[in-house]
Symmetry: C2
Subunit: 309 residues, 2 copies
Amino acid sequence: MKFSFTSLGCSSALPTVNNYPSAHVLNVHERLFLIDCGEGCQIQMRRYGISILKIDHVFISHIHGDHIFGIYGLLSTMSMLGRIADIFIYAPKGFAPVLKSFLKYFGDGFKYNVIHKIVDVREKEVIFSTRTIEVSAFPLNHRIDCYGYFFAEKEPKLNVFKDMIAMYSLSLSEIARLKNGEDVARDSGEYLKSERLTYRPYKPRSFAYCSDTAPFTKLKEYIRGVDILYHEATFASDHTAMAAETMHSTAGDAARTALEAEAKMLIIGHFSSRYRDTNIFGEEAKKIFKNSHVAEQGTKFDVPIEKNR
Amino acid sequence: MKFSFTSLGCSSALPTVNNYPSAHVLNVHERLFLIDCGEGCQIQMRRYGISILKIDHVFISHIHGDHIFGIYGLLSTMSMLGRIADIFIYAPKGFAPVLKSFLKYFGDGFKYNVIHKIVDVREKEVIFSTRTIEVSAFPLNHRIDCYGYFFAEKEPKLNVFKDMIAMYSLSLSEIARLKNGEDVARDSGEYLKSERLTYRPYKPRSFAYCSDTAPFTKLKEYIRGVDILYHEATFASDHTAMAAETMHSTAGDAARTALEAEAKMLIIGHFSSRYRDTNIFGEEAKKIFKNSHVAEQGTKFDVPIEKNR
């Protein structure tokens, strides 16, 4: 029942050898979600053993090159690997002509559909949902149309306490009904309340992605209580003015958002290549929000299951 | 007076961690020419210390993704690095709409022009020339419009023999005229022949790029006597039929072309990712053409100056 985040690249616009452009993978119960797709994404996936064909859903924050130039190679490779399943790309409307042009000139022979789901929300809004996960989009505050994504694990199904199974000699059909939240009235007159015999096996987990954005008041509401917050920190405090001008955040901005949003953990990334040593970002963030971590390509952050029993 | 070739990527369509898609740099007297531009090219340039802003001329063989998907990131990075000098991209006509679409959606704020020089030749033809180098294009035999490139160092300027300078007490203007190939008639009646007093300091060097192509008879004529031949070898002899079907070459095909063209050295690349060990390509090629080398990213092949004196 995994819930883990791996960054494949945490540079901003100018990549370096150890810092590829933005691309990240969230693993939710072995279902992989790709978040942004900078140049070299497919190579990084191979480097870190992430199966390219396991990606069915991609979430793109905005149509700047460092968040999107890897999509061409990734989609082409999927075709060459024999993909036939449709792929869904959640992205702002600016992606439509880019995709159209790509498919026109490079999509010959594709045996699968690339389906662009336009993201265009004013407030936090659910855009995708499965049995285990719900993904919401919310607006960020960048130079162009730009969205953050909130991945919330759904409440797990109820489990029946083992000792209750023995005590009441529960049949399989009774267990199924109790797990479904239904009470069971036995012919004997016994009344078995689901509420008393069952429990939620674990606490749902969550992940929020905020890149690229200048800080803004409402952001903390969109991501309140999140287990892992990935937040951009293009600059350190020495370039506060430049951060404001380019509508980016500093490490301090990211940490303040994490603090105000009562996040459990902060991962910062999207570092400007002007910084040789990214530790400065961590130092600045930790002063404000203790559980801050500097993203490094390939490092996995797990949210362990917090069992209710 | 360098003349050296560095491969930045020698995979075919599916890249691997140690084998990026096609992109190569030829250094001619510290002028850098980029040949093909697969995904991750800009990252590989940084990895191998090749200055991104020193590229003014790019030569694209054909418009398949593994030869072109790095151009988006490279051009964007050039803009962010403050480029103002025009860049010239020699590429088949299929590049025109791709470039147009890229510039439309990602070219905002570019302070330099991207000039597409259409390559469309039926025979070997000079397409670019400077004081030191002449570049010709010639047709290859692939599934789409595809061109090879021949880089020929020009004859170097004449040097005057040092002992002759002393013997005739040559003035600077006399030396300049002799170097220019002119004879000098002195007032004294002495007649100094350029041909006798000068020599060519070194033998011009050459490099040919042949990727992607099925073997064809005329190819050897286009590249006759070349110092370094880079030739694709997508397959080994176990996939001869697939090579023919996809209009690619085997290592043996490449070696036979090198042999028949009387090349001095063969470098093979563009390997299919189905081969875990690329040594098999070298073994097969060496049986036919002894001076064969397997391309590895980052390895530099120099053609040393062969001095005439």
